[in-house]
């Protein structure tokens, strides 16, 4: 029986050609005399043959190129991380002490607070048990051993009992407390009862948590932890940095907005603009509605901007599905979606948003799977040349937004270290600068609002990671100052551009602008119902993308400090 079972176990190896000569001969002899094993051989053979019939899939034609491109990027990232690791091995006193100081000062401060509370509580309790021994003690809070004319009470705070002890303890806890009042004459009981000691509030002088600066140890630790190819993305991955950067109200509004987006994602992973158009915007032609690819990309950018990636964050499943859908829409030439279903300008808007979303996905994850898609999308986007009129070098009105978004997307590509589109970015930037200096016709009016027109200079500042151009800032600031974010006067596109500029300008103006922005957006965010957490579109361009685009742009504006 055991022998029979052994033969049965050898049958698969026999059919796979894995039996040695002796075992094979023995099995074949057994098969000649055992019909059960012969049937088993036939059944196993049928199974293995049917397994061989399962068709294979063919790799895509450009797979080798995709792999090579991804491999080169992975090599660059690996080299960069290696450098960081090397640097981390060398002691860096400045940055290390920064981390230590932050950690220690917080712990020390916490310890001091706990210790103070503990000591005060202890002393208060002990003072309750050390009640005055005099029978005519008037009240618990009055020092019992201080009597008029008693020399021992000349310095009431010397006494190691009664309220005097409390004061000494408080004075010991906080060095900044007022020194005890020197009383020449022995105070009366009433004097002491009415004595009010000011204890200044204990303030913790904690160093502010700064956004990690390039080259700092914190930044390097984050990069090593997250695998992001560029440290520029780390701020959004750290909730402490985020909360400190935008404040509670804005952080809450962002969160609610993201929940609305998450709940309005389609089962296949896309967001759709047309379904969310408001009844009042029925004049918008169907054909000119922003594509689903653009709406999806905008929603993804809002989620990525808050640090949610396909692997991390509360909305990781939504981001993963959305990115997967975008990638599934990519054509062999790199286009995201079908360029024939829409106008050329709207197609470029969609392509730019999708490129930025894919590049950021790669930027925050460092995963090579997103690299090829981002690369091909960027290559396709770089092919688009905005038409620049010969006279004065101005860009056609309807091409301003696509051209600016294209530049911003390519700058995102550069920031994510997908590939170097430096030349295209700088070429477009120069064209903008030239047009802006020579023609006022470049201004991009926001129909349906009383906001000042968006200029090329403003749009060009949407490019993430771009250094503030002081001349351009000086030109834009006075107009922005007169038109702070206001729900009844301006809209999402203006808020997003203006916030980018205000943040780059910094200082008081940024505080003023951000306060107005947060107030406006928090006040007008839908509070409840199916639209709870979203915003309605305010300007004509945002209406093209409906509530999805309006919400995504509002979130992006709020995220500006840490994006």
């Amino acid at each position: 029986m055991d022998k029979h079972r052994q033969y049965q176990e050898d049958i698969v190896s026999y059919l796979m050609g894995e039996l040695d000569d002796a075992s094979r001969s023995a099995l074949e002899r057994h098969l000649a005399s055992c019909p059960a094993c012969r049937r088993r051989v036939q059944a196993c053979r049928r199974l293995l043959e049917s397994a061989a019939e399962t068709p294979e899939i063919e790799p895509p034609a450009d797979f080798t190129q995709r792999v090579m491109s991804a491999a080169r990027a992975a090599q660059r990232r690996h080299t960069y991380h290696e450098q960081l690791r090397q640097a981390a091995r060398v002691p860096q006193p400045v940055d290390t002490s920064l981390i230590l100081r932050k950690t220690l000062s917080y712990r020390l401060a916490r310890l001091v607070v706990f210790a103070s509370v503990f000591i005060i509580a202890l002393i208060t309790i002990s003072s309750m048990f050390d009640q005055p021994r005099q029978p005519n003690q008037p009240g618990r809070h009055q020092p019992a051993d201080i009597r008029p004319g008693d020399d021992s009470a000349a310095a009431p705070y010397d006494a190691a009992e009664g309220t005097a002890v409390d004061t000494t303890a408080v004075a010991a806890i906080d060095a900044a407390a007022e020194p005890p009042t020197v009383v020449d004459a022995p105070p009366s009981v009433d004097d002491i009862a009415s004595l009010h000691i000011e204890v200044p509030p204990l303030t913790l002088d904690l160093p502010p948590i700064e956004l990690a600066r390039p080259g700092s140890a914190i930044e390097e630790l984050h990069v090593l932890r997250t695998n992001a190819p560029n440290p520029a993305y780390i701020a959004r991955l750290d909730w402490r940095v985020k909360k400190r950067a935008v404040g509670y109200e804005a952080a809450f509004a962002i969160r609610r907005g993201l929940w609305w987006l998450a709940n309005n994602q389609q089962p296949d992973g896309r967001w759709t603009a047309s379904d969310s158009l408001r009844p009042g915007s029925s004049e918008i032609e169907r054909g000119k509605t922003l594509s689903d690819e653009a709406a999806t990309a905008a929603a993804l950018l809002a989620m990525l901007g808050d640090g949610h990636t396909p692997r991390n964050g509360s909305f990781r499943a939504h981001v993963a599905r959305g990115v997967q859908w975008l990638r599934s829409r990519q054509q062999p030439d790199g286009s995201i979606g079908n360029s024939e279903n829409t106008t050329p300008e709207l197609f470029i808007v969609g392509q730019a948003l999708a490129t930025a979303a894919l590049a950021e996905t790669y930027g925050v994850t460092g995963e090579s799977r997103y690299l090829a898609s981002a690369q091909r999308a960027a290559d396709r986007l770089a092919q688009y040349e905005p038409k620049i009129a010969a006279s004065g070098g101005s860009i056609a009105r309807k091409q301003i937004a696509p051209a600016a978004l294209r530049m911003a997307a390519l700058a995102t590509v550069r920031l994510a270290r997908v590939d170097n589109h430096e030349e295209t970015v700088s070429k477009t930037a120069k064209a903008f600068a030239k047009a802006a200096s020579s023609s006022t016709a470049l201004a991009y009016p926001l129909e349906g609002t009383s906001a000042p027109p968006i200029t090329a200079g403003m749009l060009s500042m949407l490019a993430p990671g771009s250094a503030p151009d002081t001349a351009a800032l000086a030109g834009e600031l006075p107009r922005l100052r007169q038109h702070l974010p206001d729900w009844s006067r301006n809209g999402q596109v203006y808020w997003l551009c203006g916030t980018a500029i205000a943040h780059k300008a910094g200082g008081d103006f940024w505080q003023q602008w951000n306060q107005a922005l947060v107030q406006t957006l928090v006040r007008h965010q839908q509070k409840s119902g199916a639209d709870g957490g979203s915003w309605s579109p305010k300007d004509r361009d945002t209406r093209l993308g409906g509530r999805v685009l309006a919400t995504a742009l509002a979130i992006l504006a709020l995220e500006t400090p840490y994006r």
Binding site: V12, E53, T64
Partner: protein
């Protein structure tokens, strides 16, 4: 022992000539994509993981040693990557109920109806038995599936599989035997 592909890899390691690596990619892309495809039945995922395997080999080329066949080295990385990937995927929470209605009025199809079944990705020429085989393969344990796919689809010898998966030869034999037995039980009607 190591074979011509190992020589190619060593040459690439020595010179850094990307053309040599491209040759490796061209040769192994199809087996590798199909290896992942058999494990996940998702073409995009299979391509992504295959790309990641090549990226890892490219970046860590200095650590390659021609102790075994190149394919052994390649599929060992692939197997490790697949295990990492399936663990990560297992951690992904389900954010939406599959019985959630797609339409707001609550009528009509549910979300679960809109999710494409895995077999939809298979070529149309596929037979009914092959489809059932695919479903049956998914019911094997990870270990059994790996051994079966490497032996049947990649046509690896048992010794090579043992080397790739770092398990004894006897274990390969018994896993293959159990895999075939289990598949037979699952496909009894289809094969008869």
């Amino acid at each position: 022992m190591s074979g011509p592909d190992s020589e190619l890899m060593l040459e690439f390691q020595r010179t850094g000539d990307e053309a040599l690596f491209e040759e490796i990619v061209s040769k192994y892309q199809k087996p590798l994509i199909n290896f992942f495809y058999r494990l996940m039945w998702d073409r995009t995922e299979a391509e992504d993981l295959a790309q990641e395997v090549f990226c890892r080999i490219f970046v860590h080329r200095k650590s390659y040693e021609a102790k075994a066949k190149f394919s052994t080295y390649l599929f060992r990385i692939a197997r490790n990557l697949w295990i990492d990937h399936s663990r990560t995927q297992g951690k992904q929470p389900h954010m939406t109920s599959l019985s959630m209605p797609v339409h707001q009025d609550g009528r009509g199809e549910e979300l679960i109806d809109t999710i494409p079944a895995p077999q939809q990705e298979m070529p149309e020429s596929d037979t009914q038995v092959a489809r059932r085989l695919q479903n049956a393969l998914e019911q094997l344990s990870e270990e059994q599936r790996l051994v079966f796919i490497l032996a049947k689809d990649q046509k690896m010898k048992y010794a090579e599989i043992a080397d790739t998966l770092r398990i004894p030869l006897g274990t390969v034999r018994s896993r293959m035997h159990s895999a075939v037995q289990r598949l037979q039980a699952l496909l009894r009607n289809a094969l008869d």
